[in-house]
């Protein structure tokens, strides 16, 4: 028992303790019921045995009387007579003190029956005394006297009859008692059955109550899984399920507040992001409008300067200072447009709006035009441009003419800017699959610090320039399915920029507008 208690103390769970306690109560109840029923049953059995023993008195008395009479008639001997009376005596003895008769254990008669028993004993004493004094104690001669024998027989019969009678009364009393007892036993059985079932139901109810929070918590987790964080589990108990419920509830509260905090932060972020996007849109719109508005006045400047120039050269063969001035106006107007175009293109690339209007165009012509337009810049920087594409008549590519022009312009302009007094070699090559344009200069070369991000936005290695040209060029060339690279020349003088364009475009049959 101590060991059991020690074991219980070591089990650090109130739920297990509670359930164990209930199980112990139930086991105790069942054992108690079993014991009670067994006891009552054994009680019934021993009463039965007593009835049996008491009932035997009648037969034994009759037998003793018969033996006595036979003895008196001379047809039996003394031993049989004595034996018969002794067996009767032993039987009564057993009824009084308990004992074993014919292998059956007999308890002493309960005290309730002592008055009946004393009657039996009294009658037996009388009967025994009669036999001992009048039969065994007398000589054979006396007994042979018929008169005496007759009287003695009558006395003996009367005494035996008394004994039988009192024994029968005892048997009847015992029978009544046994009957009563068995009725009580039935009632007790019913009572115990009901009690057991009741307690069992009660225990089941208590176990359910103890374990109820588990199903409630399971339901709660289901709700939480669905996103219902306002769930609250109502349960209070001193055991760990109560503790579990409590921590579960506080867990929900923490999760809820965490989620609320998160959604608040998300909202704030979204608002901040929205604001940034709004500003971004406004900036883009501003750039767009500014750039477009600037284009319109450039049209007359450019168009009229060009017209004026051609009108002058038509009439004269000599190039004058005024012609040079016109060239400068034209060249700068074009530069202005291209710089503007660069800014617009960055805005388009960032908004994923850059589209290609592809058409069949001559790369040779594009490059030639750009070099032609850059003459003013070339002269100003005292750069020598070597360009001899004589062996090629045309390089037909399927591309966006304006954007390709821009790429060549950007690369050439960069080369001119960083090559004062040197030379620039523009080369065009062509094989089955692609056309390659390379622009090699003898300028300052690419700053190694800038090189890794050369084609990124706003990267420039001079104080002037937007740093957008190479970024745009790369985007445009890649959108055409080509490649652009840059490296410092092996001889250590200047850098080479080159780009390739595929000659065959899958979308050649139709005007494919690609969104970059």
């Amino acid at each position: 028992m101590n060991l059991f208690l020690a074991l219980l103390q070591r089990v650090n769970s109130r739920v297990i303790l509670k359930i164990t306690l209930l199980v112990i109560i139930e086991i105790g109840l069942i054992c108690g019921s079993f014991y009670t029923l067994t006891y009552y049953q054994s009680q019934g059995t021993s009463i039965g045995n007593l009835i049996n023993a008491a009932g035997k008195n009648r037969y034994l008395t009759s037998n003793s009387l018969l033996q006595t009479e036979k003895f008196l008639d001379g047809s039996s001997n003394m031993l049989r007579l004595k034996t018969a009376s002794d067996i009767l005596g032993t039987n009564i003895q057993a009824l009084t003190y308990g004992g074993t008769i014919s292998g059956i254990n007999i308890r002493s008669l309960p005290s309730d029956f002592s008055s009946y028993l004393s009657n039996v004993k009294r009658d037996f004493s009388a009967y025994k005394a009669l036999i001992d004094d009048k039969v065994i104690g007398q000589s054979h001669v006396t007994l042979d006297t018929p008169e005496i024998g007759m009287v003695l027989k009558q006395d003996l019969e009367a005494s035996a009859s008394n004994l039988i009678h009192s024994s029968d009364i005892l048997v009847t009393a015992l029978g009544l008692y046994a009957d009563n007892n068995s009725q009580n036993l039935i009632i007790l059985q019913i009572f115990l059955a009901v009690l057991n079932i009741g307690i069992l139901v009660l225990i089941l109810y208590l176990v359910t109550r103890i374990l109820m929070p588990i199903s409630v918590l399971t339901q709660a987790t289901r709700e939480i899984k669905k996103g219902n964080f306002s769930y609250h589990v109502e349960h209070k108990s001193e055991d760990e399920l109560g503790e579990l419920t409590e921590s579960f509830n506080s867990m929900i509260i923490s999760i809820r507040s965490y989620i609320e905090e998160q959604s608040r932060l998300t909202h704030e972020l979204r608002m901040a992001n929205e604001e940034i996007l709004q500003r971004e849109r406004m900036k883009d719109e501003f750039i767009n409008i500014a750039a477009h508005e600037m284009r319109t006045p450039v049209q007359p400047i450019l168009g009229l300067s060009e017209l004026l120039k051609s009108m002058r050269t038509e009439n004269k063969a000599v190039v004058t200072k005024e012609d040079e001035m016109l060239d400068m106006i034209i060249s700068n107007a074009k530069r202005l447009l291209l710089i503007e175009e660069n800014i617009l293109n960055v805005a388009r690339i960032e908004n994923k709006l850059l589209k290609l209007n592809k058409e069949q165009c001559d790369l040779l012509e594009i490059v030639s035009n750009v070099i032609q337009d850059a003459k003013n810049q070339i002269g100003k920087n005292k750069v020598e441009v070597r360009y001899k594409p004589s062996e090629l008549r045309t390089i037909s590519v399927y591309a966006d003419r304006a954007k390709l022009t821009q790429v060549v312009f950007n690369l050439l302009n960069n080369a001119i800017k960083f090559t004062k007094g040197g030379s620039i070699t523009v080369d065009l090559e062509m094989d089955d699959k692609q056309a390659i344009v390379s622009i090699k200069d003898t300028g300052v070369g690419i700053d190694p610090r800038v090189e890794p991000n050369l084609f990124s936005k706003y990267i420039t290695n001079s104080s002037s320039g937007t740093g957008l040209g190479l970024f745009i060029s790369k985007t445009i060339i890649e959108a055409h399915g080509g490649k652009i690279t840059a490296f410092n020349n092996i001889d250590g003088k200047g850098a080479t920029f080159r780009f390739s364009l595929p000659l065959v475009d899958i979308g050649i049959s139709q005007n494919v507008e690609r969104t970059i």
Partner: protein
């Protein structure tokens, strides 16, 4: 220049100086040019077979270049039109006004500002149906 027959061109652009510039350039190369800043006025005097080519600005107060084109097309179904837009992306017109006038696949537009040579190249190619050659103009 001598090879090219004298042709008549209608220019409609709400920016007076821009229209005038085009007019001056084209006149210098032997074209007969009428120039309007008001699309309604241009429409009023428009007659079938009067012009070989119209050059229309797309972005105008009312009606815009596309709508004007539709009107002109009703009067002269054979009229050739070159669109000019200050908006750098004609594509934006494509998406917005696709149903009014699908420019997709249509190559007859130039971006403003357009250089003299580009303008002439377009005009020649549309009128003569052949590529313009630079040395003609020099």
């Amino acid at each position: 220049m001598a090879q090219v027959k004298k042709r008549r061109i209608l220019i409609v652009d709400d920016e007076e100086d821009v229209g005038k510039t085009f007019k001056m350039i084209l006149e210098n190369y032997g074209f007969d040019v009428d120039c309007f800043t008001d699309p309604i006025m241009a429409l009023k005097q428009f007659k079938p077979n009067l012009y070989d080519l119209t050059i229309l600005d797309i972005k105008m107060p009312y009606p815009n270049g596309f709508k004007l084109y539709n009107q002109l097309k009703l009067i002269d179904s054979n009229i050739k039109t070159l669109f000019i837009t200050a908006l750098s992306s004609v594509e934006s017109y494509n998406t917005e006004n696709y149903k009014v006038y699908p420019l997709r696949g249509q190559r007859h537009y130039v971006k403003k500002p357009v250089s003299k040579n580009d303008l002439l190249r377009q005009v020649y190619s549309m009128l003569v149906g052949q590529e313009y050659e630079d040395d003609l103009l020099e």
